[in-house]
Point group: C2
Chain length 221, copies 2
């Protein structure tokens, strides 16, 4: 199980200036906690957080998580870091199942995890909006992560080339990563049980229906 986390400070810039730097940092911590809690409630505790940000790594340690510090890469750092982390897991863990989740999907449900657990022999991929990948379960460890632009389709092409039968996991709640103010609205609607919701509620984020270009009108009181 790998959760790559980018910097608390420099990530989620599409939420700026709607949320301040500190608020975005708090949001990331809450989302990570929600994901970890869902995993642990389904007895998945062998979790490695990978990041190149020391703040992230010390926060992950404070949650009793295993951490892997990414090397500095000039480009495509996420996929290179994931490959390094996969290597680290192979060398250090007895159970080397590889499940990669982004750190910004706080609506991940126990049903989502149960699904993965009951399909542990498959190669599983779940879409995000915009053509990305929000869950990648690699049964064949020679698979190379290709996160980034339209990765949902790149991963499928690679699986086909490697002749790995593919299980496309069709999940709405997994598809909801948090990048824009409108995404916060989806979280406010569907995530009332999450710590992320409690935090956004505390800082007075509200959501209304909208009939304009966006579905939701997300604002502060």
């Amino acid at each position: 199980m790998i959760i790559p986390v980018s910097s608390f400070i420099t990530s989620k810039t599409r939420l700026s200036p709607f949320l301040s730097v500190d608020e975005r940092s708090n949001l990331l911590r809450c989302m990570l906690k929600d994901i970890i809690e869902t995993l642990k409630s389904e007895d998945i505790s062998d979790i490695v957080i990978t990041s190149k940000d020391d703040d992230v790594l010390s926060y992950a340690k404070s949650l009793n998580l295993d951490v892997f510090k990414e090397s500095e890469h000039e480009c495509d750092f996420l996929n290179l870091a994931l490959l390094e982390t996969i290597e680290y897991i192979k060398q250090t863990k007895t159970d080397s199942q590889i499940l990669i989740l982004p750190a910004d999907i706080p609506l991940i449900s126990t049903e989502n995890i149960q699904y993965i657990k009951s399909h542990f022999k498959d190669f599983i991929i779940a879409p995000s909006r915009g053509g990305g990948t929000n869950l990648l379960y690699i049964s064949d460890h020679e698979f190379i992560p290709e996160f980034g632009e339209f990765s949902f389709f790149k991963h499928q092409i690679q699986a086909k080339k490697r002749e790995i039968p593919l299980n496309i996991y069709d999940s709405f709640f997994l598809s909801l990563d948090i990048n824009t103010p409108e995404d916060l609205g989806e979280l406010m609607l569907h995530g009332k049980m999450t710590q992320t919701y409690n935090y956004l509620d505390k800082i007075n984020i509200k959501v209304k229906n909208n009939h304009g270009k966006e579905r939701l009108n997300v604002y502060r009181k």
Copy 2:
């Protein structure tokens, strides 16, 4: 099985001026054809199209579908029309299962229909983005449709009041209704097998990745 269709001419205004009136009308026809084809491929053919638009009704008849003309209502016409159509189905059909689908979910998959067919005793609801409902399967016919603002939650509250056990169907592909140019982008990415894709491709709609406020940059060549 009920598919409510609003007017070909006046609907999907959030796609204007990106698509002309004629193009929006063609888009609606294609989406309807895709949904019907998916249903028929899973042996669901007892389909009633409900609309108050004569163009829609005569088009549906040309596809050999049963039609129900909505009465004129001053407000909340969709839910009143659905209630009338449910009454019509009860009186005229031997199999009076009620499945309500919107006309703008061309990515609905055969797996989605198989899921419904294998859970025919449940009350099933699937979310759309923005808090709406993109699938409602009513096993208890006293249930009153409440489509419109945040209907996903209104439907759940009603089910709870009526003590109907609820099956929330977590599907990404069902959640993708087509209302904005960005939605066309999702369709272009995931819907290569659909007639809707072929039509959008024919009129030169293209999609690129985007790192701005929207995930996809949808444009015309």
